[in-house]
């Protein structure tokens, strides 16, 4: 009996701690938004962080996009040609990338490449008292350190997702048209006719913006909340990658359910 009571108590404590932390993260999010003045007014600070979060993630995004597109080309062709509709390959590649794979895979890569770096950097700044030194110089570290990184992530993520999709379509084209020999005219024209700007592209962009906010928010929060020790920073970095990957996949399901059901699906 006592055993069960203890178990229930531990479960309750664990749940309360998680909810408390979620509330703390939500308040931190609002605090960032309220203290974004510096990041937006002195936009140079944000641009500098965009270089680290966005530009330096480009190689991994472009290469991954190319390979994902090439695989899509191979797999798509294999399936489509069974039904004699291999010229629809362009639609398949483009819709898969623009609606799903672009935002989701780019988001996952962004979380592990840029998100982890943001957490580790802020966590180490805290561990080496740089954050404390800033506070002592009467400079709000959320405004000066966190907000520019947050906005840089939010701006970079949709651009990276777009690059990923574009590169993927090019990869699909290379494999489908150049390698396998699908008709080039059909590949592009069917794609052009079927991909809708509002239903497909805009929805994909919305997804990537939402993922960008989620990943960067998690990354800056984990970094700022990290215990100032080597172990604390490494734990926070791991949590950033795990939590943001799960958040991306869960949010993707919710967004897809909202966007592509109820008759708007083509």
């Amino acid at each position: 009996m006592a055993e069960i009571a203890r178990l229930l108590q531990r479960l309750g404590e664990g749940a309360t701690a998680k909810i408390w932390r979620l509330g703390y993260a939500a308040r931190f999010f609002v605090y960032i938004l309220l203290h974004s003045g510096t990041a937006l007014r002195r936009f140079r600070l944000t641009v500098r962080e965009m270089y680290f979060a966005g530009v330096q993630s480009m190689i991994i995004i472009l290469v991954s996009g190319l390979f994902v597109g090439m695989v899509l080309g191979l797999q798509g062709y294999d399936t489509l040609q069974r039904y004699g509709s291999s010229e629809a390959l362009g639609i398949l590649v483009a819709l898969s990338l623009v609606r799903e794979l672009g935002p989701v895979v780019a988001g996952l890569l962004f979380a592990s490449r840029a998100g982890s770096a943001i957490t580790a950097e802020i966590g180490l700044m805290k561990a080496t008292e740089q954050i404390a030194a800033m506070e002592m110089m009467a400079v709000d570290p959320v405004a000066r350190v966190v907000a520019p990184r947050f906005w840089a992530g939010v701006i970079s993520m949709p651009l990276l997702a777009a690059l990923f999709s574009a590169m993927g379509i090019f990869g699909g084209y290379l494999v489908g048209v150049q390698l396998i020999g699908v008709d080039e005219g059909a590949f592009w024209s069917q794609m052009q006719a079927s991909v809708d700007v509002r239903n497909d592209i805009l929805n994909g962009v919305i997804k990537s913006v939402v993922f960008g906010i989620a990943v960067t928010w998690i990354a800056v929060f984990e970094g700022y909340d990290a215990p100032p020790t080597a172990e604390g920073v490494s734990g926070a970095t791991t949590r950033t990658v795990v939590t943001s990957s799960l958040a991306i996949l869960a949010l993707d399901f919710v967004l897809t359910a909202l966007m592509f059901t109820g008759g708007s699906a083509k």
Partner: protein
């Protein structure tokens, strides 16, 4: 009549939780222009005292007045405004590792003033010249030795000519030469810029060499105070043990433990 004190702490107590007080009933007054040492063992509460002066921690009881302001009445904005008149040197410098030495020293000038870049460049050069590192302006903090990093941090802390300087263990981990340089800089900057300084330290010789007055803290209380030469001659047991670095005294060598013989007998019976 003596000038009003820069820092006035009256019967201040502080604890992270009620059962473990870190500071109890501490009172001290720091006169303008002086360099005051706060000495004691690691963990005795001296850094906590410094953090209360900096407005980092709020005292549980008592009043703290810094530069004429009562800290308990200040909100976050008020504390920030007050900190613009203070500088702090952190134990290991805490330089911003993503900026050059120049940008570190220029940081506060760029954040808090609208000075043109040419003027900032001149001011930074002056501050770095004062600590002897004008030639290192374009280096990154990772390229500096521990002593150089501390000197750059010192230049950064005095960038906006603060009235009150706080030093948190400024001598820790430095070689004898760097140690002497930092100690001399603390004194000369204080006197030439008309500052007041609080030095938290446990290095007896270096600290005694530069301070005008010293407080000894043990287990959260001020146990002795006076001029360094008085402290050297002091008969108080704690001061004697601390100044001479004796192993046993009021601060016991042994951590509290059960009777040694009983402990061995129990271990023997258990094994």
């Amino acid at each position: 009549m003596a000038a009003a004190p820069i820092v006035e702490i009256d019967r201040v107590s502080f604890g992270y939780d009620a059962s473990r007080p870190v500071l109890s009933d501490v009172s001290l007054r720091i006169a303008p222009g002086s360099v005051v040492g706060i000495m004691g063992q690691s963990g005795c509460g001296k850094t906590t005292l410094l953090r209360i002066v900096a407005g980092w921690l709020k005292a549980g009881a008592g009043t703290t007045r810094v530069l004429g302001e009562d800290l308990s009445g200040l909100d976050a904005g008020g504390i920030f405004a007050l900190r613009r008149k203070m500088g702090m040197l952190f134990q290991f410098g805490a330089l911003f590792t993503d900026m050059t030495v120049f940008d570190n020293v220029a940081f506060q000038m760029r954040e808090h003033t609208d000075l043109p870049e040419e003027l900032i460049a001149d001011l930074v050069a002056m501050k770095l010249e004062a600590v002897g590192l004008r030639g290192a302006a374009q280096l990154m903090p990772s390229a500096l030795s521990g002593g150089m990093a501390r000197r750059v941090a010192l230049a950064r802390a005095v960038a906006l000519d603060p009235q009150l300087m706080l030093y948190d263990e400024p001598f820790t981990g430095l070689d004898p030469i760097s140690l002497g340089v930092i100690a001399r800089l603390i004194r000369t900057l204080n006197d030439s810029l008309g500052q007041t300084s609080i030095v938290v330290s446990h290095d007896v010789e270096e600290c005694f060499g530069i301070v005008d007055y010293v407080y000894f803290v043990s287990a959260g209380r001020i146990v002795a105070e006076g001029k360094p030469e008085e402290m050297r001659r002091s008969g108080a047991a704690f001061v004697r043990q601390f100044v001479r670095g004796e192993t046993d005294g009021p601060i016991p060598f042994h951590y509290p433990a059960p009777e040694y013989a009983a402990d061995l007998a129990q271990a023997g019976a258990g094994g």
